[in-house]
């Protein structure tokens, strides 16, 4: 006969976690996007930052984003356990205890804000702290289980890294990083709702009121299209404002039109199979879109830097 009490005691007293489990608490894939967008915010900012300090700042922003991911997994462990996509995460699978994830997330949050503040300035540090607070308290604890607008408002947390990167260099905020913020902010709803349509049953089981679960199919599809349409003018804004060049302008325009095209595909899908296919197209395509527009900005910056260095060495 097995001793349930002893098993339970063993489970709660002995950590079964591997260091890699703690690494996966940081949501490495989300972190990579954060690193990328924060870096773009940093290189576009006027003024100079020592490359080593810049690297440390990007690292601190990435760790801050990872910490908020760990705190999100701590709070949402019950939801994660009933959803196919997330059931294998470290907490629902029992490899990491909720308390361990909470301490890990809290310690990394404090350290990342402290490192960013000390290495750069406290506007950047404060913005990072606000990003973590917004993602964990406002989105995860406040909005996610209550409203279908959860990812619309919560998207602000994911959109802040370029603003933090800009602030790390300048010590303030300007219209340019706010445009980058708007691009990610408007990109978030179509990206997540495409996934939410496919994972509708999962979200229903978990009791998370994603838009496809609470609004009519047509309403959801129209809103996806609406945000994709809004993304076009905000996407090309950097070109017209002068901080994005021709490469960026063309990428943002073509990418924006593709986003609308994929959204129309969802709107027009007349059976389950076509709908799923269209949703995956938008979901994958939207990742490509965001990567492409930020990569274009980074490439233009690198090209400009190389040109300046070349001219300097020739002169």
């Amino acid at each position: 006969m097995s001793d349930l009490g002893a098993d339970l005691r063993r489970e709660t007293l002995i950590s079964n976690a591997d260091p890699l489990d703690f690494l996966s608490l940081l949501k490495p894939r989300v972190m990579s996007l954060v690193v990328f967008t924060a870096l773009v915010g940093m290189v576009l900012a006027p003024g100079a930052i020592h490359p080593v300090i810049g690297l440390i700042a990007v690292f601190a922003i990435a760790v801050g984003a990872g910490a908020s991911g760990a705190l999100n997994m701590w709070y949402d462990a019950d939801i994660d356990a009933v959803m196919g996509r997330t059931a294998k995460r470290p907490i629902p699978s029992g490899r990491v205890q909720p308390g361990e994830a909470l301490s890990f997330g809290m310690i990394l949050s404090v350290l990342s804000v402290m490192v960013l503040g000390l290495a750069t300035n406290w506007v950047a540090g404060g913005l990072l702290a606000f990003t973590i607070f917004f993602y964990v308290v406002i989105y995860t604890m406040g909005l996610k289980r209550r409203t279908a607008q959860n990812i619309v408002i919560g998207g602000a947390a994911g959109a802040l890294p370029p603003v933090v990167g800009w602030a790390a260099v300048t010590g303030g905020v300007a219209i340019e990083p706010m445009i980058l913020f708007s691009i990610i902010f408007l990109w978030t709803p179509p990206h997540f709702w495409a996934l939410a349509i496919v994972r509708k049953d999962d979200y229903a089981r978990a009791g998370v009121p994603m838009l496809p679960n609470v609004a009519s199919d047509r309403n959801t599809r129209l809103q996806i299209l609406l945000y994709s349409l809004l993304l076009i003018p905000f996407g090309v804004a950097p070109f017209f404002m002068g901080f994005g060049g021709w490469l960026y302008g063309a990428t943002a325009l073509v990418g924006g039109v593709m986003m609308v095209w994929w959204s129309v595909g969802i709107l027009r899908a007349d059976d389950e199979g076509k709908l799923k296919k269209a949703c995956w197209s938008l979901f994958g395509g939207s990742i490509l879109y965001l990567f492409a527009v930020f990569a274009a900005l980074l490439l233009e910056w690198a090209g400009g830097l190389a040109w300046t260095l070349l001219r300097g060495s020739l002169a």
Binding site: A17, P19, V115
Partner: protein, 55 residues
């Protein structure tokens, strides 16, 4: 001399011991990395003035 008494409580399996060792190593590396990080920040923030020590 009597045989050493069995210690009471939970005993770790070999796998649990190995995982604990790996966690300890990771914590050690993390703390060392943090020390290095603060050292690097100090050096690069202060620059050459780090050598300026008025007597």
């Amino acid at each position: 001399m009597s045989a050493p008494q069995e210690t009471e409580g939970l005993r770790l399996t070999d796998e649990e011991k190995a995982r604990r060792a790996r966690r300890n190593k990771a914590i050690g590396l993390g703390v060392a990395g943090l020390c290095l990080l603060f050292y690097v920040i100090t050096v690069f923030k202060m620059g050459p003035s780090i050598l300026s020590r008025p007597m």
